[in-house]
């Protein structure tokens, strides 16, 4: 318990150092775009593939469960849309990113720590935490909600594709369901979740990488811890945000 509290304290102390004004704004923006490519753009293929397949599976499962002739078939589209926007495109995608992006960040920063590259920056008088971590947090937190929107569109596309190939319901019923009882607020809710999850993934992974020790084994351990702690934090944050925004 004491160790956990110390760890949380250490995390907040690091975040205080991270969220200081960058030494040079031009360098910050350069790093921002590099990290945006590495953390967000490079995640597009995996997010796209998963979204299309999950969208298709959701349509099949929902159609399979609506057997009663009294329930209109357009509810397949409605349920698919709601599942995607409320949970899949934010929480599920964030959990996937916690694995992909989280391990990437913690191993990259951890390797820099054990090969004394971070020491070299500190020795020059550069705020290494600010230089290395802030652009990652900013890039992921600002741009990942767009990834969430892309995931949503591709999920709906996956659903449409399976309907076209199997004829499980008509395309008209599907599109009618997609437009039924549409609430823009759900987009806001989902984007807030995604931004929060992205902040948690990047900051927690950076934290474990920044304090990596004991050589390459230590870097491996910090990567594993980063993924586990990020994932649990996402689940807890999901509960809290849902309670606050939907209750």
């Amino acid at each position: 318990m004491k160790k956990s509290l110390e760890l949380i304290g250490q995390y907040f102390i690091l975040m205080k150092v991270v969220f200081s004004t960058p030494d040079k704004k031009r360098i910050f923006w350069k790093q921002f775009f590099i990290d945006a490519e590495k953390l967000v753009l490079n995640s597009i293929p995996i997010v796209a593939v998963i979204s299309v397949f999950i969208g298709a599976v959701l349509v099949i499962q929902t159609a399979y469960n609506i057997e009663s002739p009294l329930i209109p078939k357009m509810y397949v589209g409605y349920m698919t849309r709601e599942s995607l926007i409320l949970e899949f495109c934010s929480t599920m995608i964030a959990l996937i990113l916690a694995g992909k992006v989280g391990s990437n960040i913690s191993s990259e920063i951890g390797s820099m720590r054990i090969s004394e590259q971070i020491d070299a920056m500190e020795m020059m008088g550069i705020n290494s935490a600010n230089y290395l971590i802030l652009p990652k947090i900013a890039a992921a937190t600002i741009l990942n909600p767009l990834l969430m929107l892309m995931s949503f569109v591709l999920g709906l596309f996956g659903g449409a594709m399976i309907i076209k190939f199997t004829g499980i319901i008509t395309m008209g019923q599907y599109t009618e369901g997609l437009q039924y009882a549409f609430r823009f607020y759900y987009f806001v809710y989902s984007m807030v979740k995604m931004a929060t999850f992205s902040f948690l993934i990047t900051s927690i992974s950076s934290f474990y990488g920044y304090y990596a020790a004991d050589g390459s084994l230590g870097v491996g351990r910090s990567s594993t811890k980063a993924i586990v702690v990020s994932s649990v934090s996402i689940l807890v944050a999901n509960l809290v945000i849902t309670q606050l925004m939907l209750n």
Binding site: D23, K24, I27, S111, M112, S115, E116, Q117, D119, A120, E122, M123, M124, G125, I126, N127
Partner: protein, 251 residues
């Protein structure tokens, strides 16, 4: 000039640096020697502020470095260059970007001026046509040279080298030693080198300090290293069979 007074460092219960006091002068290549685990690297990292001593004073000219905050230390850090044991070149950057790195942060030079300085530093360490290579494309000796080029990029007043010869063949080791010595004299830099390589001691050691179990037990120049009465130093210097034989031959 760097002056160290009664420096102590603990890791938990372990007393790693024991009351070390020493002075380093400009234009001199001062060597710290000692066995692995004797506290050399901890001492060097304390000098540059990467570790905080538990007690004692570190003075750079008339400023007590270890009494300053990280931000306040920045003005002195700009005047420090350091070569790390594993070179510590940034993996994500090319050779040119590595050497330019401190310039990007601490100068307002134009891109052309930065490039000219990068090329000058690389030529000074005898490297050509490597600007666009990444560190993993270089040999160990070349990485050390790029490390030196980065260390001298901002015309430092102080140069620290942590085991500059580790992992290098004898010929390359001598080249790196000579380079450090030449740069020290040429720019009148206060240079502190950590090493356990006796060749380096005899090649470039203007002054030598021997650390044994965290304590500075001997100080002198390179000529006196071989004739000292200090038992711990003799055990270190004449540790190998060949060195022992040489000592016997010398009488």
């Amino acid at each position: 000039m760097i002056q160290v007074n009664n420096l102590n460092k603990y890791f938990g219960e372990k007393h790693v640096l024991k009351d070390i006091s020493i002075t380093y002068k400009p234009g001199e290549c001062s060597l710290i020697i000692g066995a692995s685990g004797s506290g050399k690297t901890v001492f060097l990292k304390s000098l540059v502020g990467l570790l905080t001593p538990d007690s004692g004073e570190i003075w750079y000219e008339k400023i007590q470095f270890n009494a300053l905050s990280f931000k306040e230390q920045r003005s002195i850090r700009k005047e420090i260059g350091m070569l790390f044991q594993g070179s510590a070149l940034f993996d994500f950057a090319t050779v040119e970007e590595n050497v330019r790195f401190p310039m990007d942060f601490f100068t307002t030079w134009s891109d052309k001026e930065k490039l000219d300085r990068v090329n000058f530093c690389l030529e000074r360490v005898n490297l050509k046509n490597v600007n666009k290579l990444f560190p993993n494309e270089l040999s160990g000796g070349m990485q050390k040279r790029v490390g030196i080029a980065r260390a001298i990029a901002l015309n430092p007043k102080y140069l620290f080298c942590d085991e500059p010869n580790s992992g290098l063949d004898p010929h390359t080791s001598i080249l790196i030693d000579q380079l450090i010595s030449e740069i020290t004299k040429e720019y009148n830099i206060t240079t502190v080198v950590n090493t356990h390589d006796m060749n380096s001691v005899m090649e470039i050691g203007d002054t030598v300090g021997f650390i044994h179990q965290g304590k500075l037990v001997w100080e002198g120049d390179k000529e006196n290293v071989l004739t000292s009465d200090c038992e711990e130093l003799n055990n270190f210097v004449f540790a190998s069979r060949m060195a022992k034989k040489m000592k016997e031959m010398m009488g």
